[in-house]
């Protein structure tokens, strides 16, 4: 199966987006941040929708788990 996940640079004005992402969490403790992140992930996941893409994302994320 050809990969569907796109990892080349795609976001316009990345510095601006990045700053927005960080400022979203300003003043939150880590549990509040985690809660916010989880909502963001669920919303993004639904926006992507495509199961193959989502599975590739999960697999890629899995590769960043700390080694035992």
């Amino acid at each position: 199966m050809t990969k569907k996940l796109r990892t080349e640079p795609r976001i316009e004005d990345p510095d601006d987006f990045y700053a927005g992402l960080i400022s979203l969490h300003e003043g939150l403790d880590s549990e509040q941040s985690q809660s916010l992140n989880s909502k963001l992930i669920l919303l993004m996941a639904n926006h992507i929708g495509d199961r193959q893409t989502l599975d590739e994302l999960l697999a890629l994320a899995h590769s960043y788990r700390p080694q035992e």
Binding site: E31, Q34, L42, N46
Partner: protein
């Protein structure tokens, strides 16, 4: 608290005094809903059997309340479906609440399809279902229950199984060709034989209380996540007949069991949930930890496991008894064919394959629901709560919310007994699906399609001309494994089955000329646009493992 409903007397078995050992084709261990249904199902297939139970009463604790449409259809063939429908409480709405908010996060409707005899679910106390089964068993010449007959040892040889039975008046032995273990989740038979029961126990406790109250709550399934009356935990409210309500409080892992079971403490919980001035009586209360487990294999030569003995699920999704009763439906006709030398032993392997897959599906669904209700980590709980929060606004997030995925009929689409379609078919079924019901008239009387199929292989033929059966239908009826043909008339000739609303034709995609072959458990085997005697015969051979070379390991 409700007392024991009735005790059933121990009757001294004649074998206790007789030096000769009696033999039955089938012995069933356990008179729970699944074991009793098994006895009746074998009765309907003409197989004599004995049901042994170590106890003398029906189940008393708070156990199954939700019975699925498929199970009602199965129970209908055992003579209990209409009683369950008449006594049971019908419901089709569920609501999910979250946190302090009085309004539900969302509601769902389980109504699957209209124009079927049985609804998606009825709620009914398990003891009623068991009593209906006992009534039917009392009428049977081929099956019967021996109360206070405890199986204490089993020994399997090539020729059969010998069972040692303990009774209040001493021990005796019985021989059988096949032993069916329906002895529940702690299955002594499974333990005697040393078989594994792999899976997990959830680190959580649930207080299940059945109370009697005259309350104006609607007949809906209400489920709360993190409500003010049970902070950080879940709760459930569901109606049963006789003004009995099922309440379920999640308690967490570290609890003082004895303290929690004190009636004043349970009352306090109930009043916090339903109102301080609530008047109610206790029916039953107990505390459970839930498990999801299953055996690797359900068939071990001449010993076959069914129901909770073979697979255990948490109640979220009502897949316990509803799963076990589908085991019964699957096994009965196969065992009957094998015992009558009409099919090779390999057919029993298909029970194993089909029901192991079905159990996996039930275990998977129940495990996921329990994980959602009892998150195993902080992160899991955070995601759960986020999904619930988003669910208020977004439909997509509601699909993540899992308070139990309710039992639906198992589609055996991976079964080796199916014949793949060679013609084009639409409609609601695929080979392996259980048939769908439809309103029909038979001899001019209103009835239901599912009442006409089952028990034996049945072909449903959509006539091209009046009520004319296809050439060769009579031959099929005379085969070693007979196939009954039912003709769906083209017009409204009253002497046969008439699809007067056209619903059956739509559900089976039955253009004129179509022939659909159903197994004795009403699952679709094969279908053709034109009747072909040889094709039907080879499909029957396929569905009874006559054409397979099997390796039974």
């Amino acid at each position: 608290m409700r007392g024991v409903r009735q005790t059933y007397p121990f009757v001294k078995p004649t074998e206790l005094d007789s030096p000769e050992r009696a033999r039955a084709p089938v012995i069933i261990v356990g008179a729970g809903p699944v074991g009793m249904a098994m006895g009746l199902d074998l009765d309907r297939h003409g197989i004599r059997n004995i049901i042994l139970d170590d106890d003398n009463k029906v189940s008393i604790g708070s156990r199954a309340i939700c019975w699925s449409k498929r199970v009602l259809e199965i129970m209908d063939r055992l003579g209990c479906g209409e009683r369950m429908l008449a006594k049971g409480v019908q419901w089709n709405l569920g609501k999910v609440f979250f946190g302090d908010e009085k309004e539900p996060v969302y509601g769902f409707n389980i109504l699957e399809q209209e124009d079927q005899q049985f609804p998606g679910f009825v709620n009914l106390q398990q003891y009623y279902v068991e009593e209906y089964l006992i009534d039917e068993i009392d009428r049977s010449a081929l099956t019967g229950i021996r109360w206070e007959n405890e199986v204490v040892a089993v020994e399997q040889t090539d020729a059969g199984v010998t069972v040692t039975i303990g009774t209040p008046q001493g021990e005796y032995k019985l021989d059988c060709d096949y032993l069916i273990a329906a002895d529940g989740s702690n299955s002594p038979v499974r333990k005697m034989l040393g078989f594994e029961f792999d899976g997990e126990t959830f680190q959580d406790h649930f207080l299940i209380a059945d109370i009697k109250m005259k309350a104006g709550f609607p007949t809906e399934r209400w489920f709360w996540f993190d409500p003010p009356f049970n902070r950080g935990q879940s709760a459930l409210l569901h109606k049963q007949p006789d003004d009995v309500w099922r309440l379920d409080f999640q308690l967490g892992w570290d609890i003082d069991r004895e303290e929690e079971l004190k009636l004043e403490n349970i009352s306090r919980r109930i009043r916090a949930m339903l109102g301080e001035s609530l008047e109610f009586e206790f029916e039953w209360a107990s505390i459970y930890t839930f498990q999801c487990r299953q055996m690797d294999r359900f068939v071990h030569d001449r010993i076959i496991f069914i129901g909770d003995a073979a697979h255990l699920v948490s109640p979220f999704g009502a897949r316990g008894a509803n799963g076990g009763l589908q085991d019964v439906d699957n096994l009965g006709w196969k065992l009957a064919l094998v015992l009558n030398d009409n099919a090779p032993v390999g057919l029993l392997e298909s029970y194993n394959n089909e029901r192991v897959i079905a159990a996996r599906e039930n275990v998977l669904n129940s495990t996921r629901a329990t994980d959602f209700i009892t998150p195993k980590s902080t992160t899991s709980r955070i995601f759960r709560d986020s999904a619930l929060e988003l669910a208020r606004e977004f439909e997509f997030a509601r699909r993540f919310v899992n308070s139990g995925r309710l039992s639906v009929a198992c589609v055996l689409d991976q079964s080796e007994l199916n014949v793949m379609d060679s013609d084009d078919f639409g409609g609601d079924l695929v080979p392996g699906s259980p048939a769908l019901d439809a309103p029909v008239t038979i001899n001019g009387e209103e009835s239901w399609f599912l009442k006409t199929i089952g028990k034996q292989f049945t072909g449903v033929y959509f006539a091209t001309d009046g009520t004319q059966a296809p050439d060769g239908a009579a031959k099929l009826e005379a085969d070693a494994i007979p196939v009954k043909t039912i003709v769906v008339a083209t017009g409204d000739e009253t002497e046969t089955l008439v699809d007067h609303k056209g619903i059956l034709e739509k559900r089976l995609d039955g253009e004129p000329g179509t022939y659909c072959l159903f197994r004795p458990d009403q699952h679709l085997v094969a279908r053709w646009r034109d009747f072909d005697l040889q094709a039907v015969r080879s499909a029957v051979a396929e569905a009874t493992m006559h054409t397979h070379t099997t390796d039974t390991t």
